[in-house]
């Protein structure tokens, strides 16, 4: 993936963090993420995904996780009415819009299994938060990068057992592909989705971003979803749920 991943593990209230266990757990997550990268990357022609796209192998020969990802892509393509479509890009099947969040979500589950219910995984801007930063606050404070002003934030939200994913133009410019208009999506600057599952948050943010100005309506219809949009002129929109969990700016 070439993505920077940050792990923030906290102890239970009143206890000290078992540093060795924490390091072991993080190493396990790292091995997982490297494996995902090798398997799904579209930047290496030898990855399972690229070989699949060239029909050199069938799905049955690939690791089981590849089939899982393909199935998820199909389900989300249907749920988003084709606005999330990993098959629509110019270079063939590219599940990257789902894999990053999906892999980070799995890493979060690994940390839970390893006995760390208070943690935050940030995979290149996709965040899976569990519990709280014990001692600091009773929920995680997640800043939202401003899509149009570098080195700035545009919001801060609280998350406890939720994921936060943002899709947009902040760093790599217009890289989200609009599968219907068959060109880079450019009506919005960023879409942020809060949802209990990071895979879903990631896909919803990607699909909504491609949708452009209709994103707000579509996101309001999604379950357990809070959303925040900045359009390409800098105007913002929050769902009521997002506004309730927003801690900055404080509403007057």
């Amino acid at each position: 993936m070439g993505t920077a991943v940050t792990f923030d593990l906290r102890p239970d209230q009143g206890t000290r963090l078992n540093a060795r266990a924490a390091e072991r757990a993080v190493r396990r997550c790292t091995r997982w993420l490297h494996w995902v990268d090798e398997t799904f990357t579209t930047y290496s022609e030898d990855s399972w995904v690229r070989r699949l796209a060239r029909h050199e192998v069938g799905v049955a020969e690939c690791p089981g996780e590849v089939e899982d990802v393909i199935r998820l892509c199909e389900e989300f393509r249907e749920e988003t009415d084709g606005w999330f479509d990993p098959w629509a890009g110019p270079a063939g099947f590219d599940p990257s819009g789902l894999v990053k969040g999906w892999a980070a979500q799995a890493a979060s589950e690994l940390l839970l299994e390893a006995g760390f219910p208070n943690h935050c995984v940030n995979a290149g801007g996709d965040v899976a938060a569990r519990g709280a930063p014990t001692g600091e606050s009773d929920s995680w404070g997640v800043g939202i990068a401003h899509p149009l002003v570098p080195r700035a934030l545009c919001a801060v939200v609280s998350a406890s057992e939720e994921a936060v994913a943002t899709s947009g133009t902040a760093e790599r410019g217009k890289h989200v592909w609009d599968p219907k208009r068959r060109r880079p999506a450019d009506q919005l600057a960023s879409v942020t989705v809060v949802h209990p599952d990071l895979t879903t948050a990631d896909v919803y943010a990607t699909a909504a971003f491609a949708m452009g100005v209709r994103a707000a309506d579509w996101l309001q219809e999604r379950e357990r979803t809070d959303a925040y949009i900045v359009d390409s002129s800098g105007k913002e929109w929050s769902s009521p749920g997002f506004a309730r969990r927003r801690t900055w700016p404080s509403m007057t």
Binding site: D8, S96, C120, S137, G141, A145, L148, L153, C154, R172
Partner: protein, 195 residues
């Protein structure tokens, strides 16, 4: 949900032009030293007359200036005048950036230039032209507000957000796709302020 627009400030070393308002409710002047000024907003129906002046900054020290702060956005009022003009004013704003990981070079600043357009009774546009820091070859981004009373995403620099929030930000969700300095630098800034 109405909030006023981004607050501007001028720092030592700012170049070129300075925004000066001649409305009684606002006393606003460009000062070459570290200075905080707020852009008064024209409430719908009021008129603001502006002019553009050029300020020659006082000699600035060779050392890197310390970061300035962006005050929380506040609503300001302008008193109606009878003048109706179309005026364009330019402000240069300099804000703190994350520290360069080179000992001895302190901070690297991003320069933001704002172009404000007033037409008749309202502010019709603020164009932000972000100039990339030295060595960054990416093209400048523009950030335009179409109406003075629209809700738009007010930016706050990470350091200020952390101070305002008393370090209640542990991570940042951003529109990044691959490994890059942006999220890392925000994360680094957060880690730095927290420790």
């Amino acid at each position: 949900m109405r909030r006023s627009l981004l607050a501007l400030f001028l720092t030592a070393g700012a170049t070129a032009a300075v925004l000066r308002y001649r409305t009684p409710a606002v006393s606003n002047s460009a000062v070459p030293q570290r200075h905080r000024s707020e852009l008064p907003l024209a409430a719908p129906g009021t008129t603001v007359t502006t002019s553009t002046t050029t300020a020659v900054p006082a000699s600035t020290p060779a050392t890197v200036p310390t970061p300035t702060t962006i005050p929380p956005t506040t609503r300001s009022t302008a008193v109606a005048t009878t003048a109706t003009t179309t005026t364009v004013a330019t402000v240069v704003v300099t804000g703190p950036a994350e520290p360069v990981p080179d000992p001895g070079t302190s901070y690297r600043y991003g320069v933001v230039q704002l172009r404000v357009t007033f037409r008749g009774s309202s502010m019709t546009a603020i164009d932000t032209i972000q100039l990339p820091p030295d060595g960054d070859t990416s093209p400048p981004s523009t950030y335009q507000v179409s109406k003075s009373d629209s809700d738009y995403a007010a930016p706050i620099l990470v350091r200020e957000a952390l101070q305002a929030q008393s370090a209640r930000i542990q991570t940042v969700s951003g529109a990044t796709y691959t490994s890059d300095a942006f999220i890392q630098s925000l994360q680094a800034a957060i880690n730095q302020v927290r420790h």
